[in-house]
Every structure is written in structure tokens, then in C-alpha cells.
Amino acid sequence: MTLLELKNVSVSYGRIEAIHDMSFSVEEGEIVSLIGANGAGKSTTMKTISGLLNPSRGSLTFDGQEITKMKAHIRVVKGISQAPEGRGIFPGMTVMENLDMGAFGRKDRSGMSADFERVFTLFPRLAERKTQIGGTMSGGEQQMLAIGRALMSAPRLLLLDEPSMGLAPQFIKQIFTIITEINQQGTTILLVEQNANQALARAHRAFVLETGTITHSGTGKELLANPAIKEAYLGVG
């Protein structure tokens, strides 16, 4: 079943168009990766899906419902959750308060405590640091917190914008393992990455974005094997 569909979406910042006529879809249960160079429009795409940006043309559908004009804070309740680029931890709030913020739109107490359990099982470090102030966490810990917080809204679609940014190599592997685990627990994931190797290896399907346009698409394996992509994104020439 198609969970998310973008049809002919264009997004502009003032007069500059960052996304041109983009169309793609995400099926329920998939991990879909979006890779591309700096400034290709990956974050712009994510913000358009979460509702922080409005497209100038085209339409978005989520779970069969048109959401093009829906406000961002309502999309969260509908099941779209974004862990933003740069993590976006509330620096003055504790780990617990940050996680609570993730569940801001929820009222089902029992479901929430189950999700706290889920997050603390995925990230035992967060359980140890419940009362630490978010701004004092290390970069990797903040990334765990950002993903955990995004899970607290019990999303059907999880948007991850460069979760491996700034992490040490062994940590990157761990984060991707956790992402796969989250997906196996039933959450659909749209993943933006610079680390194309991991992102393609983990993805069911993937797209390559170049200056606001999708130039390649296929299964993760297909793109990993594509010589042009190898050269441009995988650091093999």
C-alpha cells in the first residue's frame, strides 16, 4: 500500500526554486533512501513532507488523504514524524522533557508509556540519562534523542534527515542497525543521507537527487551497483 506520494512537487525559497517537479512514493513498511550532494534539496524535500515548507506546485498524499495544505503540527498527529537535520534537541530541556515533547499531540497514556519503553530499549543510553539537560549531551547522544523523540509520536512514517551526520564510524553502523530495527518493528522510514553506502545498503528502494531533480531510482542494491553512482557518491572511482 502506498503510504506517501508526491506528485509533481516544486518548492521555492522566494524566487529560487529548490525542488523541480518531483514525484515519488513510499510504500508502507519500506525504508526509502534519498541521497544527494550538499544543496541538492534533500532537506527541502523532508520539510515539505513534514509541512514546514509549502510546495508552490504539485500535491502530497499521505495514507490516501491529500495533505498538501495541511499544517505541520496536524501532520504529526496523522503519523508523519521528522527528526530534523542537526537534531533539533531542545537545549534547555532534559532528556525526559525532550521525549515528552515528541508525544506532545498524544493523549493515549498507555500507548505513550509503551513507546517510552520502546525508546529506552532501542537507546539504553537515554534511559541512563533521563534528567540530563539536552544541550549538554554529546552529538551522538543527541542523535539518539532526536530519533527517540521522533518515535514518541508513534509515527507511521519516520523522516530522518542525515542521522549519521557528525558521528564516529562505529557509531554510524550502530545508528543504521537501529534504523533497520525500527523499520522491522513496523515503521516506514524515509531516510536522507550523505553516507550513501550505508543508506543504499539498508534501503528497499532509493532515489538520487541532483539540484532539485530525481536523476536515478531503483532498489538499494541496484543503485549500489550503478557505476555512475559509485563514482559520484560512494567515493570509488
Binding site: G51, H73, P91, M93
Partner: protein, 335 residues
């Protein structure tokens, strides 16, 4: 710093001198009077601080949000038969009337803040207007409200409304503390504690803190930013309405169309002194500014110095600690 001024006497009668004996003699009365006025500054300061916290906007028109409340107090009490002389009503009906005036003042100020945000600021946000445009709009809105009041009520101060005779309650180091001072300080502190707890403990309060720390991420958490913004304006308005009642209690004939300006500037200074964006800082800054201003007035022997001294202290504190005494931390869960 102030000594520098002493070595340059302008004439035989020094134009500036320090009356230290007078300060010592009047120390406690200056302290208690200062605390009382400071509590009022603090209540108004919360409005500046909250709006600055969520919008990074200095809402210059907040002084008019306050003065509208003061007009409401005067008009309601006049209609209830209060006037320049001490009312002869029984205590219970005075209390009832004052509570009514308080509620109406809170509503009037909150409504003013609400309309201000919807008419003046929200359209600018929709257009992504630059910071400077917000600031100029705020100043313009301040004048617009002042002159609207001027048109309706004229240039003169409203006739005095005396609420009740201040009664001596107890004696501290030979200084009488009166019932008005006690009521104002206690009520202000209670209101500030309620506001502080509202922001720290409630769901909406968490939303306010989240928007203050990172508006986009707050939106991604499901926070309705527009709703949070309007709530902060309303909360600031409610406290300004309370401040208006206490102000009229102390200064029964002090309500004039442009009367919000000076109090607004001092309340803003109080917010900066305590750490703008910080509710506890607003109260602390207000109380300090009230007290220090009074000391300065007595020390320098002329009421005109109150404001100068207060602002010199403000500048000195900011030189040492640019974020104010408690820091700019609407977001912080612990100070």
C-alpha cells in the same frame, strides 16, 4: 563610578550630592516602597519577557496593554461609585468591587494584547517580514493605542479613584508597612509563581518553552505555534491587567492616555535586568529596579533621579552579565 561626578562641582551649591544620612534614616521605607512598585514592574515585565521569548520581539505596545487595564479599573470603579475620597462602603463590598475591577482589567488588557497580536503582528509573520518591520510596527501600535485613548478620554488624567485607606499593619525597624504594600507584593508574588508553574509544569507551558527554544522543531513535535503565540500575549495581558489594578491602588490619579510609557520602559528594563525571556528574572528585576530606584532618589535628593539611577544600574549589570541576572532562559527547566 559615581565618585567621578563629585569632583566636578558645577557651582557652590553642588548640583549633585549624596544625602547619606537621609538614606540611612529612610532606608526601610525606601525598601518597602521600592518593593511595592517593583512588584508592579515585575508583573508588567512578564508580558515583555514572554513575548520576547517566543517571538524575539520587543513588544513596545505592551505599555498600552497595561494602560488599557488601568482605564478599565478607573472606569469600573467610578461606575461602582468610587471617587477621590476614601469610600465608606463596608469592607466586604469593597473587596467584591475590587475583585470585579481586577477581573475586568485582566480581560481588557488580555483583549488588547490579543487584538494587537492578530491585527499588528500576525500579518507580518505571514509575510515573513524582517525583524525591523516588527519593531517599527510595535512602536506604531503603541502610539495608535495611545491616541485612540486620547480621542476617547482626552488628554487629562482620569479623576482619582481611591480604593481604600492604607492601614498600618506592622512595624519593621521603625517603619510602618501598610496594607496596600502587603496586598500588592503578596498578590504579585502569587501571580508570578502561578505563571512560572504554568510554564514549567503544564502542557501548554511546555509548548511555550519549546517554541521559545526552537520554533520549527516545536512545530515538528505537533505544537501549534500560532496558538502558543496568542496564549503568551494573553498571559502577558492578564498580568498587565493585574498590575493596572495595583498601580491605581497606589496612584489613584495616575491614569492618563500616555501614562503607560514610563512604567512600560521600567518594566522592560526590569525584564532585561532579570534576564529577558525569564519569568523569575522579570520578578527579580522588577523588585530590584523598584528598590534601587528609590535608594537613588533619596541619596540624590530628588525624585527625578529615580529613573537615572535605575538605568545606570541596568547598564552596569549588563556590562558584567549581558544576559541579565538570571540569564535568558524561558526554555530552561531549571534555572
Amino acid at each position: 563610578m559615581l565618585d567621578l561626578l563629585l569632583v566636578h562641582p558645577v557651582s557652590a551649591n553642588d548640583w549633585i550630592s549624596f544625602d547619606i544620612p537621609s538614606l540611612i534614616q529612610n532606608f526601610w521605607s525606601a525598601t518597602f516602597d521600592g518593593l511595592t512598585f517593583g512588584a508592579i514592574y515585575g508583573l508588567i515585565a512578564v508580558g515583555y519577557t514572554l513575548v520576547y521569548g517566543v517571538l524575539n520581539l520587543i513588544n513596545f505596545a505592551h505599555s498600552e496593554v497595561f494602560i488599557v487595564g488601568a482605564y478599565a479599573v478607573v472606569l469600573v470603579l467610578s461606575a461602582l461609585g468610587f471617587g477621590p475620597s476614601v469610600p465608606t462602603l463596608p469592607l466586604s463590598s469593597i473587596i467584591l468591587d475590587l475583585v470585579l475591577a481586577l477581573i475586568i482589567a485582566m480581560l481588557a488588557s488580555a483583549a488588547t494584547a490579543f487584538v494587537l497580536e492578530r491585527v499588528a503582528y500576525r500579518p507580518l509573520r505571514k509575510r515573513n517580514a524582517p525583524r525591523l518591520v516588527f519593531l517599527i510596527t510595535a512602536i506604531g501600535a503603541s502610539f495608535a493605542i495611545q491616541y485612540t485613548i486620547f480621542l476617547v478620554r482626552g488628554a487629562n488624567a482620569e479623576p482619582a479613584v481611591t480604593m481604600f485607606q492604607a492601614q498600618p499593619v506592622f512595624d519593621v525597624f521603625g517603619t510602618i508597612i501598610n496594607s496596600q504594600q502587603i496586598i500588592i507584593v503578596i498578590a504579585a508574588v502569587i501571580l508570578m509563581i502561578l505563571t512560572d508553574q504554568f510554564i514549567r509544569r503544564t502542557r501548554v507551558g511546555r509548548g511555550i518553552r519549546a517554541v521559545a527554544q526552537d520554533p520549527d522543531t516545536a512545530t515538528l513535535m505537533g505544537v501549534n505555534k500560532e496558538r502558543i503565540i496568542i496564549i503568551t500575549f494573553i498571559v502577558g495581558g492578564i498580568l498587565a491587567g493585574a498590575a493596572a489594578l495595583f498601580y491605581v491602588m497606589l496612584v489613584p490619579s495616575g491614569v492618563q492616555y500616555n501614562g503607560g510609557f514610563v512604567l512600560g520602559v521600567k518594566a522592560f528594563a526590569a525584564a532585561v535586568l532579570g534576564g529577558i525571556g525569564n519569568v523569575r528574572g522579570a520578578l527579580l528585576g522588577g523588585l530590584l529596579l523598584g528598590i534601587i530606584g528609590n535608594y537613588g532618589q533619596i541619596l540624590l535628593g530628588d525624585s527625578q533621579w529615580t529613573d537615572v539611577v535605575a538605568f545606570v544600574i541596568l547598564v552596569l549589570v549588563l556590562l558584567v552579565k549581558p544576559t541579565g541576572i538570571l540569564g535568558t532562559s524561558l526554555g530552561r527547566s531549571r534555572a
